[in-house]
């Protein structure tokens, strides 16, 4: 690409990064205005908008990930497949696609604790965890987790042993990370379904631990 073209390209992009200011500032009205414009231009369809919202409110969420974790806890062969090729192993449970095209599962052990962040935006494994919670997308979590993970985890109520290594995974590519937490002690008698109910969303991000059996 020639320098001249670069300059033009940059100028053009600079220009378009401010067009949003032509719409009302109030966010609810801004979204309503753009939605109306897109519906009227036939770029989006209102049934589709409702279907997308319904899908992520009701069908795709952290209970999917909990099923993956519980299965790995009870089935050593599945756990092996999950750690070797997470995308394929998760596909066995039919969780595939958008924002989970390339999965990696990282295992917590008595000496290593994994925690996932996306400092540059908010990358998160949607097919197994759904839409990320507000705190995951916050400046506070994005800026601090790579520099002071122990302090951040303390705010979640997680005090880790000084000798535990913390591995922070900054999701900079399309690889999506899911933490496989340690199975709580004293759960030998529990079924896969009962174990699944102990798996919290935060335990699969690394900002929490599974619940203990009641």
């Amino acid at each position: 690409m020639s320098d001249k073209k670069n300059v033009e390209h940059n100028h053009d992009e600079h220009h378009h990064h401010h067009d949003h200011s032509l719409l009302p500032e109030e966010p609810e009205l801004r979204v309503k205005a753009i939605e109306t414009l897109l519906l009227n231009k036939g770029i989006i369809n209102s049934d589709t908008v409702n279907e997308l919202i319904d899908t992520y409110e009701k069908k795709i969420g952290p209970r999917n990930g909990a099923k993956v974790v519980a299965k790995a806890w009870v089935d050593p062969e599945y756990k092996k497949r999950l750690l070797e090729n997470a995308t394929k192993a998760i596909e066995e449970l039919s969780y595939t696609g958008r924002q989970g095209e390339h999965m990696v599962v990282v295992e917590n052990t008595p000496v290593v604790h994994n925690v996932v962040v996306c400092t540059l935006c908010s990358c998160y494994p949607w097919p197994v965890l759904g839409i990320p919670p507000t705190w995951y997308k916050s400046d506070e979590y994005r800026s601090r987790t790579v520099r002071e993970p122990r302090k951040v985890l303390q705010e979640f109520g997680l005090e880790l042993d000084f000798n535990t290594q913390i591995k922070v995974w900054d999701s900079t590519s399309e690889m999506r990370y899911l933490v496989l937490p340690m199975r709580p002690v004293g759960t030998e008698h529990l079924s896969e379904n009962e174990l699944e109910s102990l798996v919290t969303r935060n335990s699969m991000i690394g900002t929490g631990l599974p619940e203990l059996p009641k």
Binding site: M1, T55, V104
Partner: protein
Amino acid sequence: MTRIHDMGGRFGDGPIPLKKIDGKVVDDEPVFKTDWHAKAFAITVASASVGKWSIDKSRFFRESLPPKDYAKFDYYEKWSSALINLLVERGLINQNDLIEIKKKAMEDNLEVSQVTDEHQDVLKAKDVAITLGRGGPSAREVLHSPKFKVGQEVRTINYSPNKNIIGGHTRLPIYARGKKGKVILHHKGHVLPDASAHDLGDSPEHLYTVEFLSTELWGDKDGNQKDSICIDLWESYLI
């Protein structure tokens, strides 16, 4: 330099915004906190079927919002504002459309008309499940063999890797520039965001996960000797 989104390691942000009851974290937030959050999400996902921008381009448009807006906007304000800019850049809407719809919005006169000619690529409700289930894999074949092996020590370059566009998109965070680490995973070929964000093709490269010691990134005083940070990095980011 970099852009406002590149905030890893920044000082000054306060406590993580968590809901706590009696000091314990309570994780019961609804998927979408308001209707307009849900709408901003859904219209962005739906528009991509017609707009055909790459995920990298949509990220670039969010991080290219003016820094004052980026810092002030809530998550879905960033999404909806970047969406408007993307739609104008793609020529699907223009500035006159925006001025007209704003006028109607201010007059409380936003009406959806009967659309008879939907765009040919519009995402249909019946295709939502299959479209989401398919996603958009970024894996691509790279013909040359990988330059680095798992276990090998590497160093990141100490400037923005984007060779084509000044101020362009890249995924090498500034906190990890010019730093020494070790390759721990090799993910084979993937689309290079630095190209894809600017409609310059896939330009796939080998992708690696590189592990950095906390002390390498933050120094002995600030880092923790036990801890490490693992970052996915493309081959051209590494030497």
